[in-house]
Amino acid sequence: DAEWAGLEELLVRADVGPATATRIVKEVRERFAPGDDPRALIAEELVAILGRDHGLELPSDRLAVILVVGVNGSGKTTTIGKLAARLAAEGRTVSLAGGDTFRAAASEQLEVWAARAGAHLVAQERGADPAAVAFDAVTSAIARGVDVLIVDTAGRLHTRTPLMDELRKVRRVLEKAGGRPDEVLLVLDATTGQNGIAQAAAFAEAVEVTGVALTKLDGTAKGGIVLAVRERLGVPVKLIGTGEGIGDLETFDPHAFAERILG
């Protein structure tokens, strides 16, 4: 009994959420047979919830477009830099769109990453309409025959309706320009608590999120909210951030993730 309570607490401490943690333990206990290893069964259940479709789905015969969204400070711009480098290493040409036209030095920050990754950058002056930058970036990427365009956006709290409307507009304009996103990545900070679910729901509703990039897993936070995000919204984790360097990006591995949660 104490062992099950201990496992449930591990899940709660991993930000899985009390209701989900209780449910997972209850369901695993129901099918528990003498001789089974409780921890291994819980790990299996976590892996089952997380699903299988963790790869980035990018076309190879036309411009691939990745839209990157999320709340303030979650790691969007840094993740874009790392992803650009990874795609370049796979032999693709990459273009970046400076869609954060709001925050101080957002352009300058993305410029550094573009240079590090060998990616072309399309940006406008601070205060420009992000949709205009998006449009320009698609047009330019198609004209240059670039393989992948990654669109950065300003951090925004999902509770701010005008900002979520702005994001909807960016997505619409990308489509209009002929750059309908192949992936819409929600960047979630692994230290985020239960609010991560509300964030994911709001961004999914606004721009149809196709995957999560879970960042800062090199810390002590476990990122357990991605379980509820997968269950309730059907959105899988595709990438994880494990540091501030250009190479600190990994494909999501549900088994390793489950192991990390259970210590």
């Binding site: 030095a105 230290t191 609010n195 800062k216 936070a221």
Partner: protein, 290 residues
């Protein structure tokens, strides 16, 4: 609402007249779930509920006609008290210069908080100096320079490492008669020993009057781990709880104050440099309880 939930709990285990201890236990179990859903750290929630149990088992609550309301009141009081009770005044000594160091994990809102604080002290008639000691993040210095320009506060970043930048800034403040020095530092993980050592060295160079930890209001269980570690390494004097303008319940506010005994001085309520307000424990308690 919490009162509604507890009413349901008490109704389910209905007994005549006096409240039964079993009902209190059921209420506490429900409270625990509610606190965890609000991102209060497990250990902090359990400590708090221990105190609530003692008070809830008192005659006054047990004989009350409205026990659910009484228990909610006890919980609210304990939450508020744990977070310091009343608004903590952020005071700077008349030393010249008064020094504030801002630290925290990546993306928690430090750079923005430094500029907001500089604007606030400038409005109070002081002459602040902003110090860009994050030499790591791409365009971190540019970010602070841009913000400083927006509020008319000078920004310096003179040196090839953060300790040198800190020392040089103190000298400059002394030369120019600037009376408040606010130092932005690089985001760092509490498990990055080298970076935590660097933070200690920067602190030693600054001998700051305040070390504020910026903490994101949407942080979950990890808030306790972060707060403890920064407390141990740089002896934080208090917190700025950022991004409170979202809809996170903000249990982190309880976690960080409970495990450090230090107050939240300010909350960040938006991205504008005027979006910095005092922290009110009672308002936060209501928010956490939902």
């Amino acid at each position: 609402t919490l009162t509604g939930r507890l009413n349901a709990v008490f109704k389910k285990l209905r007994s005549r007249g006096k409240l039964h201890p079993k009902q209190v236990e059921a209420a506490l179990a429900d409270m625990r779930t509610a606190l965890l859903e609000a991102d209060v750290a497990v250990e902090v929630a359990e400590d708090l509920l221990e105190r609530v149990r003692t008070r809830a088992l008192s005659e006054e609550v047990m004989r009350s006609l409205t026990p659910a309301q009484q228990v909610v009141k006890v919980v609210r009081d304990e939450l508020t008290a744990t977070m310091g009770g009343t608004q903590a005044a952020f005071t700077l000594p008349s030393a010249r210069p008064a020094v504030v160091m801002v630290a925290g994990v990546q993306g928690s809102g430090k750079t923005t908080a430094c500029a907001k604080l500089a604007r606030m002290v400038k409005e109070k008639g002081k002459h602040p100096l902003l110090v860009a000691a994050d030499l790591q993040r791409p365009a971190a210095i540019e970010q602070l320079v841009t913000l400083g320009r927006e509020i008319g506060v000078p920004v310096v970043s003179d040196g090839r490492d953060p300790v040198k930048v800190a020392r040089s800034a103190l000298k400059q403040a002394g030369r120019e008669g600037l009376d408040v020095v606010i130092v932005d530092t690089a985001g760092r993980l509490h498990v990055d020993d080298e970076m935590m050592r660097e933070a200690r060295r920067v602190k030693e160079a600054l001998r700051p009057h305040h070390v504020l930890m910026a903490c994101d209001a949407m942080t979950g269980q990890d808030a306790v781990v972060q707060a403890r570690a920064f407390m141990r390494e740089v002896d934080t004097t208090g917190f700025v709880l950022t991004k409170i303008d979202g809809d996170a319940r903000g249990g982190a506010a309880l976690s960080i104050t409970a495990v450090t005994g230090r107050p939240v001085f300010f909350v960040g309520t938006g991205e504008k440099l005027s979006d910095l307000e005092p922290f009110y424990p009672d308002r936060m308690a209501s928010r956490i309880l939902g």
